[in-house]
């Protein structure tokens, strides 16, 4: 069954970018405001789900050739490696640190290693959610 829902597809094209931007904002806002890797990941996943719903799996899989199962592995590995990094420097597993750095033009920005850890969370959430949804919907 080929669905051709013009209104949904047109809206999706625009809305998806808004959702992605919001997800991006949520992810980086996490340190001081509401947001974080988990919610950012869920938001990004919902944008992708919207794409899959309004078009079909084949089209989107061609446009975004990401293997979500690999993404899960990447996510968990990134999180684990940030934890191992602290071991190499002689701190307990998963110790984080932060530093305020002066950037030209942007001014002073706080850089925290927990952002790297949150990247892993984000990837895992996106990968996990979409693996589940796609494998169930492909099963039909």
């Amino acid at each position: 069954m080929k669905v051709n829902d013009v209104i949904l597809q047109t809206v999706t094209k625009i809305v998806v970018f808004i959702i992605f931007t919001f997800a991006f904002y949520l992810f980086f806002a996490g340190h001081h405001d509401t947001g974080g890797g988990f919610i950012g990941g869920l938001m990004a996943a919902s944008a992708l789900v919207l794409l899959y719903l309004s078009y079909d799996i084949d089209t989107i899989s061609k446009a975004i050739p990401i293997n979500y199962r690999t993404l899960i592995g990447v996510g968990v590995s990134v999180s684990m490696l940030t934890g191992l990094g602290s071991i190499l420097l002689g701190f307990p597993f998963l110790s984080h640190t932060f530093e305020y750095v002066d950037f030209p033009f942007f001014g002073e920005i706080e850089l925290a290693t927990s952002v790297l850890f949150e990247f892993g969370v984000l990837f895992t959430v996106v990968g996990g959610t979409l693996t589940i949804i796609l494998s169930i919907s492909e099963d039909v």
Partner: protein, 806 residues
């Protein structure tokens, strides 16, 4: 981190690279790369020998989980280091041997060497760890790697059976040992073996002393194949011969001996320890040697012989523990610690001669295609080098000069005679049994040693019954057993080199009060015409007579009653347990999620509800509650309405949407209560999960025998459980407000900006303070994702593809 730590983890780290090397260099046998590891470890650890000879020890510590008193502490003393040298030394020889034994074209070498390195690292960890929990971890790792190695040729049914049997028995013992470790920790308050030994008096007087000791010994006896747990060892012979030589004769089975030796200073000197260790050892000694005589498979013969020799060492350790009964400096210390000296000497000797014998048997198997002694014979002229090595190994095992087994066997007799003369522990009544049992077992040891050589290499050559044309093995395969054979001779002629550098430090570790008492003692093979020499001469005489008349009495074994075959016990026990667990699982695992929910809810109601009503009385505190606004009342009504709708509706889709409404309302509550993080997460999760539920429920087949129009019948049982769990949770939530049992931990997170540089406290907790929780949560997400994928996808592929089990 010290170099010794690195040596323990080196094999484990190297194991990661073995498959890569196997892939990258297909033309070079992977064993050559692996060989570097044991050689390196042996070379490094040997540098500690002079320190030991001077009575020194070394200790290195890495904190691991300090607040649980679990640290990766390495303790280098005589006992541990000599074991480690045996492990790495024999390991190196076994790797060389395996290079010629296992064909690089046919065998899965990468698996083999990964398992072997896993084992080597684990075994080094066992003998060098001071922390009992770390020791336990390595201990179980040896069981697992042994399982994998026995099942290396997993296509064979016998291999799988043997691997499973070994695993079940040794892991059973491992669990018992863990229980014992926890008991010891309760008594002494430490996991460090050295500190436990220092508190030996406290341990021995405690009520838990006997259970802790019995459980510890259960671990040691299962691992070291002591009666009645020895039944796994003959079946473990399904492993490739290098593995049998390494794990099941030289190293892993000696882990139990190591454990007994290591804990002798803590438990020894008590009658219970003395009696159990001595007599289990003696019984195993005689049982193993009696059974070895009737075997027809060469490896089975060696397996029973190993069981018997392990029993010998075990019984010596038991007899030697009597030395701890005496005050330091007493005459009795030296008299009985002598048995321990004999034990560690025989341990080293056994590793040399049994290792070489296993390798020779492997050569025979490799070059003739059979290990059945009825088909073999007359190989002496065809395989002269192997024959010589077999003679050296066998005669050493039989306890004849000029081989190292002779000296340690004489020392064994001395030990039994000293033990028989003990006037403590009720020994004056039963003591005389010990030398008698030891002598009878030695006669049978002599017989099976002769059988091994005679039936294989002498007698009539029967080429028509062999699968291959017999010829001598390649040089590389002969080198490792030759080195061991050379050691057998060298130790006989220069026993005091081993004595000074290895045995005396080992005795000092096992019997601390005997440190130094043997300083002036020189091991010698000639003591004059002592009772021990006459015992040996009688062994040879009676053994030769019995061997000559072997055919007349070997039939006696067939009259052994059925119940004495312990393997039947194991088989029936195992199948009985399988049937039992089948019944239990089939009874409650119905496959319906509603049944499982019932179990979960009923359990919660019984345990939580029960303790709630028994321990506390319900009181509703209202003074610290905020006032309820109209908006909240409306939300609560919507919540109630959608809940009722979930139950009342007949359409699945309506139910899913109502659950979604429930979730959104909860998110609104979060907003009112000023928890934006929670609200946002709740909204996103709700959106994604409603989409997922709709997807699933839309395609879900209708339940059998029910149509959507009829709806669900009212079930009173379900209603009661639902009502119970609902009211329980409500009551709990209401009463939680009134109690403040602990200081709230939220105070700590209050200054998250200073601690983690994050103004958002929730996220600081997630990423910084409790990062490990978050990490495990994403692992759960990963497992869930991959699990769903596997469930959905593999089922689909199986339908069209091939079934793997065929």
């Amino acid at each position: 981190m010290s170099w010794v730590h690195l040596m323990i983890v080196l094999p484990l780290l190297f194991a990661v690279f073995i498959p890569l090397l196997y892939k990258a260099f297909p033309r070079i046998h992977t064993g050559w790369f692996v060989l570097v590891v044991p050689v390196l470890i042996f070379g490094y650890l040997a540098t500690y020998l002079p320190m030991l000879a001077n009575g020194g020890t070394a200790i290195y510590e890495i904190p691991w989980i300090p607040y649980l008193d679990i640290n990766f502490t390495v303790f280098v003393d005589g006992l541990g280091l000599i074991f480690a040298l045996i492990i790495s030394g024999i390991g190196a020889l076994v790797v060389i041997y395996s290079i010629y034994y296992l064909s690089k074209a046919r065998e899965a070498l990468h698996n083999f060497y990964v398992y072997l390195m896993m084992f080597m690292g684990a075994m080094l960890g066992v003998v060098l760890s001071d922390n009992m929990i770390v020791l336990y971890l390595f201990w179980e790792l040896t069981s697992i790697s042994s399982f994998l190695l026995i099942a290396y040729w997993y296509q064979r049914k016998q291999s799988r059976f043997g691997a499973q049997k070994a695993m079940l028995i040794t892991v059973l013992g491992g669990f018992a040992m863990l229980a014992s470790i926890i008991m010891i920790h309760n008594i002494t308050g430490t996991f460090s073996i050295r500190e436990v030994i220092a508190q030996s008096d406290l341990l021995v007087q405690h009520d838990l002393f006997l259970p802790a000791m019995l459980l510890l010994l259960l671990g040691a006896f299962t691992k070291s194949a002591q009666f009645p747990f020895h039944i796994w060892l003959p079946d473990a012979m399904e492993a490739p011969t290098p593995i049998s030589a390494y794990l099941h004769s030289a190293t892993m089975v000696k882990a139990g001996i190591y454990l007994v030796a290591r804990f002798t200073p803590a438990f020894g000197g008590t009658p219970e320890w003395f009696w159990i260790v001595t007599f289990v050892g003696l019984f195993t000694l005689i049982w193993g040697s009696l059974n070895a005589v009737k075997q027809r498979d060469l490896k089975a013969l060696l397996a029973f012989s190993t069981i018997s020799q392990l029993g010998l060492i075990m019984s010596l350790l038991g007899m030697g523990s009597a030395a701890l009964y005496f005050n330091p400096g007493d005459q009795g210390v030296q008299l009985h610690a002598y048995a321990v000296l004999a034990a560690v000497f025989h341990l080293i000797n056994h590793s040399t001669f049994k290792g070489s014998l296993f390798m020779v048997v492997g050569i025979v198997d490799h070059e003739t295609g059979t290990r059945d002694m009825r088909k073999l014979g007359g190989l002496m002229t065809i395989m002269p080098v192997s024959f010589t090595l077999a003679v050296i190994g066998s005669l050493s095992m039989a306890g004849l000069p000029p081989f190292n087994g002779f000296i340690s066997k004489e020392m064994f007799f001395t030990g039994t005679l000293s033990a028989a003369s003990l006037d403590i522990f009720n020994m004056s009544t039963y003591g005389a049994i010990i030398p008698v049992v030891a002598w009878i077992a030695s006669v049978f040891t002599f017989i099976y040693s002769i059988i091994l050589v005679y039936k294989t290499f002498l007698g009539k050559y029967q080429p028509e019954r062999l699968e291959k044309k017999a010829h001598e093995a390649p040089l590389g395969m002969l080198i490792p057993p030759s080195i061991l054979g050379f050691l057998v001779l060298a130790i006989f002629f220069f026993p005091n080199v081993v004595g000074d550098y290895a045995l005396k430090p080992m005795v000092a570790s096992i019997i601390p009060s005997a440190a130094g008492v043997f300083d002036d003692y020189a091991i010698s093979w000639w003591h004059g015409f002592e009772p021990e020499l006459f015992m040996t001469m009688a062994v040879v005489a009676v053994g030769l007579i019995l061997f000559a008349t072997l055919n007349r009495w070997i039939g006696l074994y067939n009259h052994m009653p059925q119940w004495m075959h312990l393997n039947n016990w194991f088989k029936h026990g195992l199948s009985g347990m399988e049937r039992g667990s089948h019944k239990v699982i089939d009874w409650h695992m119905t496959g319906y999620i509603r049944d499982y929910l019932m179990y979960i809810f009923i359990t919660i109601i019984l345990i939580v509800g029960g303790s709630y009503f028994l321990l506390t009385d319900f009181t509703l505190y209202t003074e610290n509650l905020a006032s309820i606004s109209l908006f909240e009342i409306v939300l609560a009504l919507v919540l109630l309405g959608s809940t009722v709708l979930v139950m009342a509706t007949r359409s699945r889709l309506t139910a899913v949407v109502s659950v979604g409404v429930l979730g959104y309302v909860v998110a609104l509550f979060f907003i009112i209560l000023r928890a934006p993080d929670l609200a946002l997460t709740q909204l996103a999760i709700e959106t994604v999960s409603v989409a997922l539920y709709l997807l699933c429920f839309y395609h879900l087949p209708k339940l059998k025998g029910r149509s959507e129009e009829e709806g669900e019948k009212f079930k009173i049982g379900n209603f009661i459980v639902a009502l119970g769990i609902g009211s329980l949770v409500t009551l709990l939530a209401l009463s939680v407000n009134g109690y403040n049992l602990f200081e709230p931990i939220s105070v700590y997170y209050g200054d998250s900006y200073d601690l983690a540089g994050a103004a958002n406290m929730v996220n600081a907790i997630l990423a910084d303070f409790r990062g490990f929780d978050t990490f495990l949560e994403i692992v759960v997400v990963a497992i869930a994702g991959l699990g769903v994928y596997a469930l959905v996808r593999l089922r689909l592929e199986k339908r069209g593809g091939t079934d793997e089990s065929q």
